[in-house]
Symmetry: C2
């Protein structure tokens, strides 16, 4: 299940980025499972990683390599997370970089490794040895290469996730294109999610990092599928600089905003694609909290509503069960909140006014408001300017089926 139509937008190639895929046989036999993304000389890359304290070997190695050199390639496998695999896992992560580096004739620490899949199984090196040369042979810039890569990094995903923007900078077309994978273990601050975004804009390190941080704050850090966070999440933003415009050297450059907005739009598209493909999802819920004393208050309440299994199962049933929404808000609200100032809308329908059921509210209107595949729950706390939003999905039978059967 997934929310909405399976839409595959047109992806713009990013000059300086070539992708190649292959079948290593890590776990899946029905799709490819290894990707090499090669970055042209001079490319810069920024990255953010999971905040889960159990960090997979490739996350540790990628951070180490990022500090050492400007990345020239990403190597991504699906089917095995290489997490909780100890020293042996670190060794395989390093060795996979070394093999890719040989192939591409770059330094080993210019390669960043990424893995996603089952935690705790030893990751063998053989699938890399087998498939890396294939990936190398097939490196190409075409949009189809991005889609092939999106397919190869997937695990429980039921849809391919890609997004693209083209903006004009200095009269020149600049491209931002990205792919992502993920549909479970999704929660703010990165989850079992990988996303790789690239642009041909010549963005230097400091503004590139700023661009990434801002984009992730408005996209991947706003989504939750099940409240669980993972050991392997990563998002990279690479800038190849091949667009043929002068370098963007800092955030005050007026062109920074143009590219940053495109990056943010691509990240938001990818993040929403992940929630729409949330495990077992039948509805996309936008939880919007306004009127909080401050942003933190609004965020805490939005998170609690968006993560409540009772709110999510009610959404699955198209049940405008507003009591559960207030209950979830109450679990995160401060003691001094005056409930008589609280208003709740489901879509356009005012359900709660003054903290109680709105006099003109009817169950029929509530059910109609809950019926669409994409529904906004808007809670106004009536006491300040703090606001936050979170995108999440419902909790269905299918979620249980997927997660009770994933590994075995």
């Amino acid at each position: 299940m997934a929310v909405g139509a399976d839409h595959r937008p047109a992806l713009a190639p990013v000059p300086g980025v070539r992708l190649g895929t292959g079948a290593g046989g890590f776990k899946y036999t029905d799709h490819e499972d290894l990707v090499v993304m090669a970055l042209a000389p001079g490319s810069r890359t920024a990255a953010v990683f999971t905040r889960n304290r159990l960090r997979a070997a490739p996350v540790l190695v990628a951070e180490e390599h990022l500090r050492a050199a400007a990345p020239r390639a990403l190597v991504i496998n699906s089917g095995n997370a290489n997490a909780s695999t100890g020293d042996a896992g670190m060794e395989v992560a390093r060795e996979s970089c070394r093999l890719a580096a040989e192939l591409l004739e770059v330094e080993a620490d210019a390669v960043l490794p990424f893995s996603t899949g089952v935690i705790g199984d030893p990751l063998p090196l053989a699938p890399f040895e087998r498939a890396l040369p294939v990936c190398g042979d097939r490196l190409r810039e075409e949009p189809e290469a991005w889609w092939d890569a999106a397919a190869a990094i997937g695990t429980t995903d039921t849809r391919l996730k890609g997004a693209s923007r083209t903006v004009t900078v200095d009269g020149t077309s600049v491209h931002v294109t990205g792919i992502a994978k993920g549909s479970g273990m999704i929660h703010p601050n990165m989850a079992t999610m990988l996303a790789f975004v690239a642009t041909d804009a010549p963005v230097q390190d400091v503004p590139l990092e700023a661009m990434l941080r801002k984009a992730v704050g408005e996209s991947f850090n706003r989504i939750s599928v099940d409240g669980d966070t993972s050991t392997n999440d990563a998002l990279t933003l690479s800038a190849t600089g091949q667009a043929g415009i002068a370098p963007i050297a800092d955030v005050t450059d007026p062109r920074f905003g143009t590219v940053a907005e495109a990056v943010e739009a691509v990240c938001k598209d990818l993040a929403l694609a992940i929630v729409r493909d949330g495990e077992g999802a039948t509805k996309l819920l936008t939880v919007q909290v306004t009127g909080g004393a401050d942003t933190a208050e609004a965020e805490a309440i939005a998170s609690r509503i968006g993560c409540s299994p009772l709110v999510k199962t009610a959404a699955y049933a198209t049940d405008p069960n507003w009591g559960r929404i207030l209950m979830a808000a109450g679990a995160a609200a401060p003691e001094e909140l005056d409930w008589s100032g609280v208003t709740l809308h489901i879509g356009e329908v005012c359900v709660v006014r003054g903290g109680v059921r709105a006099p003109d509210y009817t169950e029929e209107a509530g059910e109609a408001a809950m019926a669409p595949e994409e529904v906004t729950l808007h809670l106004d706390l009536g006491r300040g300017a703090g606001r936050a939003h979170l995108w999440t999905c419902d909790l269905s039978h299918e979620y249980v089926t997927i997660n009770a059967e994933y590994r075995t």
Copy 2:
């Protein structure tokens, strides 16, 4: 579904406590839905309530009445939580107390109201007017009256929950008996759960409060079904003093411990009965965390593991998916945790040693360890004396079914 056999222990009557039930028609037509618990003159009552900031009208009124007078009666309805019902809800809660007070010839503020059920529907007074006289006519001390009351306070419960202990104090038998309801919206610090415990020991206010706090810390605050907390939770402990022994006036009285232990045992039985009857539960999971730097660290990690939908769906599938257990621990662990000191046992089977899969571990052994209806997940952090445990259940298709269909 529920875990284990439907066991109804023998309940000891508590002299000084009479219970009567009736059918008001709040929502349910298949079972009674109103209970009056009458307490003999001289009884003392201590209570704890939900920490959810959205507090139902009966919670607010009960707290007010507790401050004003020693309770002589509890009035409990199921099917309607009288939460988010504004001033009208407060009025009905007060009026229900007044009606019960008239019937029992006590002061209105000597009656505590309790409600459980759907949030947000206006609570009518008519069912109280209809059924309170019936409850009054049927007041009796017999064990069957406790079981009838346990049935009448239930909502999505599939089992009746009662527990009892008899201990000898000063050569005299002292009884502690309690009932509870609850199977969803269950989380530490009280959830959509009501529990009423009584003893005939003559325990005075200060030691009674101490007894209750200690018991709840080791029982109801150790359980989680779905991480949601409710608007109505309450636990009362009443002491009628009719056992015919000298009053227990403070916590240093050597007899305090004897009664406190019995109270704790009854609360623990009731709490475990709630988890075993957790919505859709097929397994009871004991999450035990040891070796933490301190108790708070162990509690945070136990809570994260016990609330992870991925851990809970794996348990449903009898899948020894230890990677998910470590992942959940990692979401709550401090950055400085040395994973190479971490050990995980599922039942008696050592699954992870030194932070990686134990060399002698086999999937067959893991599956066998996950197979029983009651399984202990024991994570040792290997760095201190902090320990905590949490009882929870698995997350099944049936959980989704119950919560997607509860209201509509």
